[in-house]
């Protein structure tokens, strides 16, 4: 790699950069910062950068490249990155309504919603339902609820019983409730994804959660480049689930950080006031009353206690969870009532199981097997056991190990027990690893001064490329060809084209451009290609300078810019 400045020897690189780092960084434009940010988030994006940009970053010590061509943002360059440049800097539009999902799960757990789409829609759009969410537009609440219900049914977290009423599946609901917000949203918008795709989705959502009014297109492109996942088709669903708001081409994500004072207050009238994230299993042991912007209200009722016990919690579990979460002491009345309900719950039970009938001797052995006991749902007699069908394989193995290898297959219909796969990807999701703001902001005022002072287009080109970043720096001497000498121009351009370098083309009217010198296929014409602007035949060019490929292409100066050095001729 050719270094731009002759005095930057490899031995002096680090020292030079340390000494001049702030100055170099102050000349990094916001556009360059954005590209560096993308590179930092997704190193493979290096290859998609324009070559002059790559060379420019390398020349300025903002990126480093190894022999294989793999690049990364340098320690200096990391001080110029910021995700705010892409994701926006506007204030937060509000906190994510963390409690909507637990409330919806609680309502589902109560078994009051029918599986039938028409009945479910009727209920979810009724005032009875939407009035619980006064801080949310009723239509939006209905849409979100419908989406959640559909996804949970798909995932097996919710199921329909024989009456067609939806309820929660014990283990799956517990697993789902422990997911973080981003994981949960990922499952809700795409319950059908396999793990590999879900991982990318979750990562993309983590990035999206940084959006603070940034341009929608830019954000989506960045996320797509950084994570390999395109969110464009998911934006409506994400809006329905309160994750984002879209406003005239700008994206805002709701804050996922819980900044308010947490509150979990249980009163003796059995109501719970909660702010912030819900403690575990609240959806199970309390009924939702209302969701405000800051505080939600729940009530512990006989029915909600039954839901919790049905999901496998004991009274002690619920008491412990309440006591651990409570901000203030909880009245004994609440716990006494819970114990009373638990007694009622335990007074009559129904379970599906495998009946294991043993003779007296076998029963004595079974009773003594301590590790087997957890698989016994109950005893129907002194030697008749009700075994857990979900763990049949395990207890069969245990019995076999104890010498009961003659135990035949279980007679009768088989219980279908599926192991629901609900895993968290949020915990291992790559973070952007980027700071919110640059360490050194772009000093546009300095750059403007340097440009004004730039007495030649060549110097201006170096200023625009960030290679001159302080007063007193001079542009290096480079070879040039005067416009009067066509052959000299042609020779310089031919040589530059052969090396793959760039030229600065100064026009008679004073405009100047940086571009790639090229020759026509026939070889009889030469021109300078200014990317995205024009192609200049050399006949029209007044003066040509051979410049480093680290100089960024494009228009350098307009006619009312600096004096051309040709004026001195």
């Amino acid at each position: 790699m050719k270094l731009l400045f002759p005095d930057i020897g490899k031995q002096k690189d680090k020292a030079y950069l340390e000494e001049n780092g702030d100055g170099i960084l102050a000349a990094v434009t916001d556009d360059d910062s954005e590209l560096l940010t993308l590179l930092a988030a997704s190193p493979p994006s290096w290859q998609s950068l324009p070559q002059d940009r790559r060379r420019s970053f390398l020349a300025r010590g903002l990126a480093e490249e190894d022999r294989e061509g793999n690049a990364a943002v340098s320690p200096l360059g990391l001080r110029a990155v910021s995700y705010a440049a892409i994701f926006g800097r506007e204030g937060c539009i509000g906190s994510y309504p963390f409690q909507f999902l637990p409330m919806m799960m609680s309502i589902l757990a109560s078994g009051t919603i029918s599986e039938k789409p028409s009945s479910a829609e009727k209920y979810l759009s009724s005032a009875l339902f939407t009035s619980r969410f006064p801080s949310i537009d009723p239509e939006k609440a209905t849409r979100a609820a419908a989406a959640i219900m559909k996804a949970l049914l798909y995932l097996g977290v919710a199921e329909a019983d024989s009456d067609g009423m939806v309820y929660l599946s014990q283990d799956a609901a517990m697993r789902f409730s422990k997911l973080g917000t981003v994981d949960a949203i990922g499952y809700l918008i795409h319950p059908e994804y396999f793990d590999s795709r879900r991982r990318h989705l979750v990562e993309a959502l983590c990035f999206l959660s940084l959006a603070r009014g940034g341009d929608e297109g830019r954000i989506l492109r960045f996320i797509s480049d950084a994570t390999g996942y395109c969110l464009a088709d998911d934006l409506d669903a994400l809006g329905d689930l309160f994750f984002i708001e879209r406003d005239g081409g700008r994206l805002h994500a709701r804050s996922l950080s819980d900044t308010g004072d947490p509150l979990f207050s249980v009163s003796s009238d059995f109501t719970i006031s909660v702010s912030g994230k819900c403690p575990p299993m609240l959806f199970a042991y309390a009924d939702p009353l209302s969701l405000g912007e800051h505080v939600s209200q729940w009530a512990i009722t006989r029915q909600s206690a039954k839901t919790a016990f049905s999901l496998g919690a004991t009274c002690q579990d619920v008491e412990r969870m309440i006591a651990e979460a409570a901000t203030y002491p909880v009245s004994d009345t609440v716990f006494m009532r819970l114990r009373s309900w638990y007694e009622s719950f335990n007074s009559l039970k129904a379970a599906r199981g495998v009946v294991l009938a043993a003779d007296e001797r076998s029963a004595r052995i079974i009773d003594s097997m301590s590790t087997l006991q957890v698989h016994i749902l109950g005893k129907l007699g002194s030697s008749i056991y009700l075994m857990d069908p979900a763990t049949e394989r395990m207890w069969r193995r245990m019995l076999c190990n104890e010498g009961f290898d003659m135990l035949a297959r279980t007679k009768g219909p088989r219980f279908l027990v599926e192991d629901e796969e609900i895993r968290s990807f949020e915990e291992n999701a790559r973070e952007t690893g980027l700071p919110a703001e640059r360490g050194v902001p772009y000093d546009s005022a300095l750059m403007e001064r340097l440009l004004k002072e730039a007495d030649t287009p060549l110097k201006a080109a170096y200023v625009r490329s960030g290679l001159i970043w302080r007063e007193g720096m001079e542009a290096p001497d480079v070879s040039s060809a005067n416009g009067l000498y066509y052959q000299e121009k042609l020779a310089l351009i031919t040589a530059a084209a052969a090396k793959g370098g760039k030229v600065l083309a100064e026009m008679l009217d004073g405009d100047a451009y940086i571009g790639h010198p090229q020759k026509s296929a026939e070889g009889d014409e030469a021109y300078v290609d200014i990317e995205g602007i024009c192609r200049l035949p050399i006949a029209r060019i007044w003066k040509v300078y051979a410049v480093d490929s680290a100089i960024v292409s494009g228009k350098v100066r307009s006619a009312d810019g600096c004096r051309s050095d040709s004026d001195s001729q």
Partner: protein
Amino acid sequence: MQSDRTLLLDVHSPSAADCRKDISRFADLVKSPEHIHTYMISQLSLWNAISSGMGSQDIIAALERWSRYEVDSRVTFFIEDQAGRYGDFILEEYDEDHLLLKVRRPVFALQLKADRSLEGLIEPHDDSSFLVRRYDRGTLKATLIRQGFPIADMIPLKDGAPLQISLRDTFRPRDYQVQAADAFISDGSPGTGFGTIVLPCGSGKTIVALMAMARLGRKTLILCPNVTSVHQWIREILDKTTLTEADVGEYTGNAKEIRNVTVSTYQVLTWRPAADGPYPHFSIFRDEDWGFIIYDEVHMLPAPVFRVTAELQALHRLGLTATLIREDGKEDQVFSLVGPKRFDSPWSELAEKGFIATAYCHEIRLQLPEEDEVRYALATSHQKHVIASVNPLKLDAAARIIGEHPDDSILIIGQYIEQLKYFHDRFGYPMITGSTGNAKREELYQAFRERKIKVLIVSKVANYAIDLPDASVAIQISGTFGSRQEEAQRLGRILRPKERDSHFYSLVTEYTVEESYALNRQKFLAEQGYSYTIDRW
């Protein structure tokens, strides 16, 4: 502050008391359990604040001062909008028979003209005003409030005949009683001098009323739920004011005395010989030159009295209650006809300061005897309640409680007369039911007060307004299904401040419908911060 206009006050905050004082001016206290009190900004509470001189910006400033989070723009919009409506409808004098309703905005005038529910109530006078018959004043106000249009009633209240009355200096009112009276009387400008005071049982609402009487100095009619409370009022008036027996009359089934201060019952006023005939005693309202009407236990205001109350809008009127819950849901009518809530105070606050007794509530769970289990299982839902309520094991439980409180004055309160008689026969304690004559009731209450009787068995006649200062234990053996009000009122019988703590026992048959009714009954008290221990005997 939430966008549905509820305010949640964390009472553990060091500035909770100051905050409460501020927000009480424009928000109603909904409930006050031990940690978080709930207030609500409603149309009525806002209009009440506006009519007392607060501006919308004052209210918003108060919210911004105390709110932990930014105040939602929907709330500020509501406040400004509702405040802006105040003054859109103004009621003024017109002639002897009519009042004039002025409407500020033409669009509202058109709306009223087209509103069928107002037909017969208003008559167009010109493009922006309507004539209203005087006796329709209250009905009109109630109707328009329901539609979201508050009327600024600028008609000065009728003075009524003067009354020379002042308070004796033998007692000193408590500061909350003074505040309540001040809130009611206010500065005497139009829009004041009528309303409801909500204070816990035993906290001295009567004193507040006497203070209001003394400040107004007008001929007064007092309405009570029963004859016993009529006598209590008369005793209090004679004890605490300079009025004499010649000034105070009883208008009940026993006597028909109309004097400068007359105490009557709702029952006598709403009695009529024929089911669809007129109410002969309503004339007491119309024929006398009253200046002030007091509705004791205003939550019990019977529906027929609503209509007459609507006609009495010209008078100062005060509603007193501890529990503004009506199982028919007509609390709003009470507010709109008698007047808005002017003052309330959390029960827990008064208990902390010792103005009402500290009370411990116990739910005692008893099994249903085996021989009744099947009968219960096969019974209808109404019969189930009866079987559970009259569980014979409650007798032994009551006996045990009485044994555990040898020095207390105890009330045994029940719903079913047969059950009470059973207790009376087995224990031998005196009993008061609806069939007990008034004289006998007075005699027994007096004996109870003098501690000549330690245990008194009472039916629901004793639910309301009976003042038994030393009662410190109440044993509720049965109740009216899930009535929250009844539970609160019964607890109220033992809340007069005294040297010992009070205990309220509710005997409940477990695994029966009585359990769920009991839970519902306890709701109001739980919202006031009372918690029940549950014991199984």
